[in-house]
């Protein structure tokens, strides 16, 4: 259990360092950096590499935004196994639904509760 906290900390931290290097050294905007990360996550899962990565790093792999690309591909492939090509469309958001729904719902609740500052 201590080991999994350690690896979550180290791997999650390292992914953030890669992001910081993209900010500072390559002068990319946060939007460009995050989009790149999502695409990398999707490609990694395409090669079947993301699942062993989650087994190894736990939240260090599921919390960074790369896991968003991974779970999009994952849902699409799961459905595609059952229904063929059309499953790529119908299954796309199956696994990611929690992240997007949470962002929309809590975003709206936040807008109802809080007033903008400044």
């Amino acid at each position: 259990m201590v080991a999994s906290f350690f690896w979550a900390f180290v791997i999650g931290g390292l992914i953030c360092v890669i992001g910081q290097i993209m900010f500072d050294v390559f002068h990319l905007t946060p939007a460009h950096t995050l989009s790149t990360f999502v695409v990398i996550g999707a490609i990694l899962d395409g090669f079947g590499l993301y699942e062993p990565f989650i087994d190894f790093a736990g939240a260090g792999a599921t919390i960074p935004i790369t896991s968003f690309g991974n779970s999009l591909v994952h849902g699409a492939l799961q459905e595609a196994e059952k229904h063929g090509l059309i499953g790529v469309l119908t299954g796309m958001f199956e696994v990611t639904s929690s992240g997007i729904s949470a962002a929309i719902i809590f975003g709206f609740i936040g807008a109802l509760l809080f007033k903008p500052k400044g």
């Binding site: 931290g13 953030c16 360092v17 500072d24 779970s71």
Partner: protein, 159 residues
């Protein structure tokens, strides 16, 4: 692309570019990276704690526990964004606070709160995904391409 653009500029513009480059303040890359590592690592450790909570009390597996964890983290980032704490974390941590899903949540929620004065339909509804939209677009499109290629290879390629 940057080089092509520079060829088209006049001499004065090029001189200004050199001057700007010379006087640009150097970013403390190493210090920023250390801070990003620390903040990103702490956020992922909190995520790991929530993940253990879901695995022990609600019987998720290591693979499936990611989903409720992400939702909980976004809920936490709503509270932190609303009380103005997340901005301070972001100033200290840089990419360490932007790369985890809490950064995605923060982008959505801060846009929603910020545009609330313009009304709920046009302001909140229209601007919510202003910053996070590119993440969803490129994530969805790349996932579509990857899944399409893989499905075709598996079905008809004999892999």
């Amino acid at each position: 692309m940057a080089n092509e653009q520079r060829k088209l500029q006049t001499k004065i513009m090029q001189e200004y570019y050199q001057l700007e480059k010379k006087n640009e303040t150097k970013r403390p890359v190493v210090q920023n990276c250390l801070r990003a590592f620390l903040v990103g690592g702490i956020i992922c450790s909190i995520g790991q704690a929530i993940q253990f909570f879901y695995m022990y009390f609600f019987h998720f597996t290591q693979q499936t526990a990611g989903n409720p964890t992400v939702a909980t983290m976004i809920f936490l980032s709503m509270l932190l964004t609303g009380f103005g704490v997340y901005d301070r974390i972001a100033q200290f941590g840089g990419a360490g606070s932007a790369v985890p899903v809490t950064g995605f949540g923060n982008a959505v929620i801060s846009a929603a709160i910020e545009h609330r004065t313009e009304g709920f339909v046009l302001g909140v509804g229209g601007n919510m995904f202003k910053l996070a939209g590119s993440v969803i677009l490129f994530g969805t499109f790349s996932a579509f391409v990857v899944a399409l290629i893989k499905t075709i290879l598996i079905k008809w390629g004999g892999f």
